[in-house]
């Protein structure tokens, strides 16, 4: 049995924060994904360009660089712009918000691709039929397109979630007290890094396994009405 020297609760605290950041970032990612997939499928060249640049750039740059850029780069950039305009301000970004936004922003690009595929796999006739019945564009989206797209997107979004929750480990680098950082604190205090990093890895593995189970349930639930 693992001897934790009373540091087990520290990891539990970290786990809570990891899940909180993960869930918030997932919400950001899905919202950006909806926006991005709309941008990709819209009949507007500017929306197309913005959405394509977004997914291309985000998927081509490591998460760590983007995270450091947002957390350390953005405040410096804003400050130097403010200084050049004659203001003297200091900005500190809260690591929770920086982490949530960055992780959400990165995985929003992956969610964009998933949702784009999902919207495209809905037969065009359905939206046309809904329009013919007299539904407004927004109502078509809410009643016809969104529920079906979510069903098609479920496997892909589950995939995104599992990569995302693992990526939250990076936020420890910007000093947020999530699981990884708590693990570092515990392993420094006890001089038993292997024990604690192993435990942390099993906790992440547990999150992955639970997520897989939930995803399977959710897919069965979502596909209940579909004949196979």
């Amino acid at each position: 049995m693992l001897e934790l020297h009373g540091y087990g609760w520290l990891l539990f605290d970290g786990l809570q924060l990891t899940i909180a950041v993960g869930l918030c970032a997932m919400v950001v990612a899905v919202l950006l994904g909806l926006l991005g997939s709309w941008g990709k499928l819209a009949d507007h060249w500017l929306a197309n360009v913005v959405a394509n640049v977004y997914t291309t750039v985000v998927r081509g740059v490591p998460e760590l660089i983007l995270l450091l850029l947002v957390y350390f780069g953005a405040p410096t950039l804003i400050q130097s712009i403010a200084t050049s305009m004659g203001y003297d301000i200091r900005i500190d970004i809260n690591p929770f918000i920086a982490g949530t936004i960055t992780i959400g922003f990165i995985y929003g690009a992956f969610a964009t691709e998933v949702l784009r595929g999902a919207f495209q796999s809905i037969p065009k006739g359905q939206a046309e039929a809904a329009r013919a019945i007299g539904m407004h564009q927004i109502m078509v989206f809410r009643r016809i397109l969104l529920p079906q797209a979510m069903r098609f997107a479920l496997p892909g979004l589950g995939n995104v979630w599992m990569v995302l929750i693992k990526a939250t480990a990076l936020i420890s680098i910007i000093q947020l007290d999530e699981l990884m950082r708590k693990t570092k604190i515990a392993s420094n205090a006890t001089h038993e890094p292997f024990t604690f990093y192993l435990l942390a890895s099993f906790i992440y593995l547990g999150i992955t396994l639970v997520s897989m189970l939930v995803q399977k349930r959710a897919e069965t639930w979502a596909n209940k009405g579909v004949m196979r």
Binding site: G60, V61, L68, F72, K184, H191, P193, Y204
Partner: protein, 235 residues
């Protein structure tokens, strides 16, 4: 915004990019050598063979790479005496060894899963035809199954290569001066935060899309005659 400071340190950044590419290639090569036996073990019907392979793949795909790197680099310190007795401490003290080991194990697990899918997707007819020609065992695998599986798995493997290229940025956390590590070092010296990170991001972007292009060309060469439509998803 002042990029002139970056200009001065550009050779250093290129050296960092070279390290990034080098780590990627080494890890991929060794990882691939592990991945194929691992994929075969996963496909075995014997539980003594497939369950360790299954657990290995599950562990390395289900936990963050950062934890794996820290577990090997910092975690090995806990067994310093034992490792010294075995004469292995020299390896585990070295961040390069630990970083590459973690990347190798990680990419081996992901690639094994890709090749497992690809091997089981090889059409039965091809294998039957091979048998009809008198091939069996290793010869059949080497001549028929593996080349076909490689072609099927190539698009997904291309994605894995790109993910690995980006994942190498994590080795900067254990003092290796790859592109990310060099940028962080130069920033602590010059305080030009976003200038260096933006330049590094641009360099990663170029490396990524050059790789994407190369894989696309390779796929075309290998399966152009089949004209299959390729669907890629994030891992």
């Amino acid at each position: 915004m002042d990029f002139s400071i970056v200009w001065q340190y550009l050779p250093k950044l290129f050296a960092g990019a070279w390290v990034t590419l080098w780590i990627t290639v080494i890890s991929l090569a060794i990882g691939l050598a592990f991945a194929i036996p691992l994929a075969l073990a996963r496909l075995s019907k014997n539980p003594i063979i497939y369950s360790p392979a299954y657990l290995f793949v599950l562990y390395f795909r289900g936990t963050p790479l950062l934890v794996q790197i820290f577990l090997i680099y910092y975690g090995s310190g806990q067994f310093r005496n034992e490792l010294t007795d075995l004469g292995l401490w020299g390896f585990f003290r070295d961040p390069w060894f630990c970083g590459i080991l973690a990347l190798v194990l990680n990419t081996a697990a992901y690639s094994a899963e890709i090749f497992r899918g690809a091997i089981s997707a090889v059409p039965r007819n091809d294998i039957e035809a091979g048998r009809a020609c008198g091939m069996s065992g290793l010869l059949l695998f080497r001549r028929i199954t593996l080349p076909k599986a490689f072609r099927i798995g190539l698009p997904a493997y291309g994605n894995e290569v790109i993910f690995l290229l980006q994942a190498t940025s994590l080795v900067s956390t254990i003092t290796i001066l790859d592109l990310t590590g060099i940028s962080r070092q130069l920033i602590s010296k010059t305080f030009a935060v976003y200038e260096f990170y933006l330049t590094a991001a641009a360099m990663y972007l170029v490396m990524t899309y050059v790789l994407v292009y190369l894989f696309r060309v390779w796929e075309k060469r290998m399966s152009g005659h089949l004209q299959t439509r390729v669907v890629t998803t994030p891992r």
